[in-house]
């Protein structure tokens, strides 16, 4: 916030003894910093320095102010300045920071990789363009503390410090992205990196800002869809990659006239199935070196407009996002046992035998989302209120999973959300404000894979966030209380024909009871209403104990209301290859394998987290070291019951099938997993060290690690392995070259049902050449990924054994800025 260029022109009417503050921003070697920004937060004033680093803040009341000065490539500077009646002239000297520092936008507190008490990473600018991928998790995969749950190149979500799913919130411009990606690993995130300006990652509990669903962290994709100024500028990109024949085109442009700002962005991407260094399925080593059904086609268009005022802006943007992607490994019932011949018969209506369906075996998803966002921010010259920011959104999401050319399951999410932040003027030197947050989500699934009943979740929250500098110490405090209701009027408890494989010793008899179970079985129906009041607190401090260094501590207690899937599920979830049953249910034990309502009360999940950070913020060497310890009470997770249940697609077609071709195997069965809760502990570290060797050459090393286990020492599944990476960069005005080598260690701390995953090393390179042509900055680039063509199986992926990372790929692209 407060970066609005228009605020330069802001006048302060009641200022009778106004003075001007002028000065210059320079580097330690005395070089003027042309792109430096100087801001006085208390006054909502911000100004950009000219070509020679000079700036002028006109008409400031005399007094003492805290200034925040930042420039790309340099450490942020906070300095107190006393403005007297006559003009004051100051020089700010910024030190170089080899670690890129980008502020988190629209946060009520100071947040950046170098400044905040809790850890933050921001991927922006050139780095974002270099790392952007078709899916969000893969785009963020190289940030410390973030790994991807790679799902065959078509879907992926970020895993932050070992947590994902309903614990990591994905936002677009601060509002929930509102898709169904939190529910299944094969559901794509409805957000695009190629049109974003930056992607922010808050590691560790961020419920303070985002509420339930952010207990493990937040990923916020930021773009300029509602323009805050109307300078004409834009960006376009064309790229092609060899491994999957991907073609990408994207653009974004901002312009305007008078008080109106206009914005548009769009992208189009198409890719085929991708190649792998080895046969993708570990059980079929002679298979083709290609992951079938991993192609995608997506496009999106966003149009926004805003009305720009002297003290702020208000605007609206509409986005249409479409994506059609194959779901590799989405066969019905256990990938490994998949049996082509029985498949046709198990599946569909009675006439299917007549037609060849081999081409339509593949399952693909057709996703569509319409997103409307209304964003505004106003500053006031008021004794109490400093600024108001307003965000409201409505999204209408639908994705259909198409099997055999017919719609199998339709997932829908309709969400409305409002956030209102009221920032007060400094009060006893405390800065901060109140945040109101309301969200209403209706989620429904219809069809064969509708494992969760339709539900409506409503959340209303109030949060207070404050920060203050005490000399060299910045203190940040926050608290948030929420009221969450989860309504599901038709939760089903069907009789589960589950059985253990041990009992039948492979004699295949059990199939019979399926066809003549005559006992009248009842599906119990429940109307469930849950009310939760999660409360979160956080306290942190950052102490600049010696120039160029700081140490941060952050302690938080965060609560989360469990999601509908974790409580109410009952059915086969092909994306995870399990039969999922929510925590509302439990094995009763009276009858064999019978399920009833759980007698354990549903409770909130509570995370107690402590974060320690040591940073070197400036100089030729910079580093950020984080260690965290997160104790999660009542952690919701799935346990394997040891039972198996039919995935079911064969169940519905009752009529005149010749059951003579009894090719039934276990192929249509899934292991039954039951949600429950237990206390868990996650701890680990992230380290990032950068060395600016010379003006053109920089070397960076990073590493991250997490250990995730239940208190009784059972390891949690799909925990990212230890990782160490290095990046060497060479940058001149025209040439930019990067070499990345990342080693993923072997993961042998596995959940009981998991297998070990071997380590691997990935080598990526990137070279670009920049030049200027017809008022445009052009950049042509060549990038190579997985240059050694290494077999890389991702431990965090549900498709580990059937879809490794893509093999060697060479991409070429052209980018322009104006």
């Amino acid at each position: 916030m407060n970066k609005l260029a228009i605020m330069m022109t802001m006048l302060l009417p009641g200022a009778s003894f106004a003075a001007a503050l002028t000065g210059q921003a320079v580097s330690q070697s005395g070089k003027p910093l042309a792109k430096a920004t100087v801001e006085i937060e208390a006054l909502n004033v911000s100004v950009r320095a000219d070509e020679s680093g000079y700036f002028r803040l006109p008409s400031i009341d005399s007094g003492e102010y805290e200034l925040h000065i930042h420039a790309p490539g340099y450490a942020h500077l906070h300095e107190k300045v006393t403005v007297t009646d006559s003009s004051s002239n100051v020089t700010f000297t910024l030190s170089r920071s080899p670690i890129e520092v980008i502020d988190v936008v629209a946060a009520p507190m100071h947040m950046s990789v170098m400044e905040s008490a809790s850890p933050v990473s921001v991927l922006g600018g050139e780095t974002l363009r270099r790392q952007q991928a078709a899916t969000l998790g893969d785009s963020l995969d190289r940030l410390p503390g973030v790994q991807s749950n790679f799902h065959g190149n078509v879907a992926s979500t970020p895993i932050i410090r070992g947590l994902s799913g309903p614990r990591v919130l994905i936002a677009q411009n601060g509002l929930d992205v509102s898709d169904v990606s939190r529910v299944g690993p094969d559901h794509s995130v409805a957000s695009e990196a190629s049109t974003a300006t930056q992607i922010e990652v808050l590691r560790g509990p961020a419920t303070l800002f985002y509420g339930s669903g952010a207990i493990g962290g937040v990923v916020n994709v930021v773009d300029g869809r509602v323009p805050t100024d109307n300078d004409t500028r834009g960006e376009w990109l064309l790229e092609s990659d060899s491994v999957n024949n991907q073609k990408l085109a994207s653009f974004n442009v901002t312009t305007g006239v008078n008080q109106l700002g206009f914005y548009a962005d769009g992208f189009w991407r198409e890719s085929d199935d991708y190649d792998t260094p080895v046969a993708p399925d570990i059980d079929e080593p002679d298979g083709a070196h290609r992951v079938a059904n991993s192609g995608e086609e997506s496009n999106g268009l966003t149009i926004g407009t805003s009305y720009l005022l002297d003290n702020g802006y208000i605007g609206i943007a509409v986005e249409q996002f479409n994506r059609e992607y194959g779901i590799p490994g989405h066969s019905h019932g256990g990938h490994e046992e998949h049996d082509e011949d029985s498949h046709d018969h198990d599946e569909h209506d009675e006439n299917s035998d007549e037609h060849e369906h081999s081409a339509e075996e593949d399952v693909f998803a057709d996703l569509e989302q319409t997103k409307v966002q209304l964003l505004g921010e106003f500053t006031f010259d008021n004794d109490w209120l400093r600024s108001v920011s307003f965000r409201a959104g409505h999204t209408d999401y639908e994705h259909a999973e198409i099997e055999h050319g017919a719609v199998g399951t339709v997932f829908e999410n309709n969400t409305s959300e409002i956030r209102l932040e009221l920032m007060h003027t400094a009060f006893a030197k405390w800065q901060g404000g109140l945040s109101f947050h309301y969200k209403d989500s209706e989620v429904a699934a219809q069809g064969s894979e509708a494992f969760t009943p339709p539900s409506t979740t409503k959340m209303i929250a109030l949060a207070l966030m404050e920060e203050r500098h005490f000399g060299e110490v910045l203190v940040q405090l926050g608290a948030r209380a929420e009221h969450v209701t989860l309504d599901a009027s038709e939760v089903l408890l069907p009789p589960l024909a589950a059985h253990s494989h041990d009992e039948e010793h492979d004699d295949h008899d059990h199939e019979e009871h399926d066809h003549d179970h005559d006992e009248a079985s009842l599906t119990r129906v429940f109307d469930v209403e849950q009310t939760f009041t999660p409360v979160s607190f956080s306290a942190g401090m950052v102490w600049d104990f010696t120039p160029g260094y700081n140490v941060g501590v952050s302690v938080s207690r965060s609560q989360r209301a469990p999601a509908a899937t974790e409580l109410l599920s009952f059915g086969p979830h092909i994306g995870t290859g399990t039969y999922e049953i929510g925590a509302m249910f439990a094995l009763t034990g009276d009858e064999e394998h019978a399920l009833g309502l759980s007698t354990t009360p549903t409770d909130l999940e509570t995370a107690n987290n402590i974060d320690l950070t040591l940073r070197k913020t400036s100089g030729d060497i910079g580093f950020v070291l984080n260690a965290f310890y997160n104790q999660v009470d009542n952690y919701y997770y799935q346990t394997n019951t040891g039972l198996y249940a039919e995935s079911g697609h064969s169940h519905g077609d009752e009529d005149d099938h010749d059951h003579g071709d009894d090719a039934h195997e276990h192929s249509d069965e899934l292991p039954v997993y039951l949600f429950g809760s237990a206390d868990a502990v996650l701890h680990g570290f992230e380290a990032q060290i950068a060395w600016q060797v010379s003006d053109t050459f920089k070397a960076q090393v990073f590493s991250d690690y997490v250990r995730a286990r239940l208190k009784d020492d059972v390891d949690l599944p799909r925990t990212p392995p230890l990782r160490v990476g290095t990046q060497l960069s060479y940058l001149t005005d025209t040439i930019s070259a990067h070499l990345d080598i990342t080693h993923y260690a072997e993961q042998d701390r596995n959940a009981p049902t998991e297998t070990e995953t071997d380590g691997y090393t990935l080598v990526d390179a990137f070279v670009s050449y920049d030049w200027r042509l017809m008022d445009q900055d052009l950049s042509v680039y060549l990038k190579g990924t997985n240059l050694t063509d290494t077999e890389a199986r991702v431990h965090t992926s549900f498709l580990k054994d059937i879809a490794p990372l893509p093999g060697r790929s060479v991409g070429v692209g052209l980018r322009g800025y104006f």
Partner: protein, 458 residues
Amino acid sequence: MNSIKNLSLLAVAISSVLLTGCGDAETTINELPPIEDHDDHDHDDDHDGEDHDHDAESSGRLMIADADSNAMAVFDLEDNSLLDTFSVTHSGSALTHSADYRFAVVSSRTNDLVEFIDGGVWREDHVDHMHDYEEAPALSDFSLVGSQPTHVVSHDGQLAVFFDGNADTSMPASVQVVSDNDIATEANDIPTLTYSVNMHGVAKPVDDMLIATVRRDDAESVSANPVLPDSVGIYHWHDGEYEQEQLFAGECPDLHGAALNEEFVVLGCSDGVLVLHAHDEEYESQKVSNIDELNGMRVGSVYAHHDVDTFIGVASQHGGGSAVITAIDPDHGEMEVINWEPETDAHPVSYGFSYDGEYFLILDDKGHLTVLSAEAHDDHEHWELTSRIHFSEEDLNSMPDNAGFSMSVAQNAPLVYITDPIAQHVLIIDLEHGETEGDIELDFVPSAITWLGIAEAH
């Protein structure tokens, strides 16, 4: 490890000092009446007709059109009560059911519009069980738009609406195919076949295939009336379009009427009926010529049932004069006249098979329901008169204008529902016992009726 323990202690210590506030969680669970799970593999019930078990599932609903307005009334067959009344856009629309009997399909030929009303009773495959829904009926926002929707036919989970197009406005004919799920989810991309000319045609969906009539160039056409197609195309839906895979060119002059069962497709032509039979993904054609007993008429409507080998063909004079009803045996390539022993001057107004294929029903304009059933001789089926129910004693001269008897067959029991516009009621007729089981009083003149609900699997 020590340091981690210390960290843990520190975290807990600081947390507990700072944070005494605590979240709260409350759960309210109300158990609702359970859903009976259907045993999908049990086929041997109720074909003996004795003990129809209506407890386990909904009896279904009736949608009845008002002859004098655009109102549609929905009755619950559990207790024969009026559930709701809906206004569709146009009055005088045709009424039928969707492929799985969840929706009433209201098509207005003159207004180029097909609307849907959710009857509220349907079944979903919930993998572990078949889940039956019984909800309030509702007018769907989903509609189909096209020039002159005329023949609306269902087969095996799909509904095909044939839009005749209009020569006057140069609108070509087209076919749109929707499943109940498409209607429920208000699907956007409806499989559509668009022709280049108008025609009075018909199409039958079979999985991802569509058997549809084709009107050839008038110069080539062998139809006496060129608006009637003379050819049949086999189309395959892939990559977002229907692609013609086979064409039976000129094999069916003046094509009108079509039906299909598991094995055969039968289409009415001026010179006989065209029989199509699938072999190794290819259809083969065969013609059954008109027989002398047709007296120069031709089969213009064809009826079929999933479980019945015989097709019933109806040859009648234009305007509903006397009709000759024939049994068509496509397997042997034979056609024979069924002696249905009509009452004097009785002209059929509606036909249909009972839900299990046991009976073929003929409703006539003199207040009779004629019930035919088949007897097997060798491997031939012979259809004969079984019973006749005289359901209306009203003075037929008081039949309101533009109204007539109409019927709809229940798909879960041997019942048929007949509207009587004179008495303003619906009669419920039990086919097993050949008698009227009850009636539903109406406060309007009914013009059309359709049964909705969960069809019993065959």
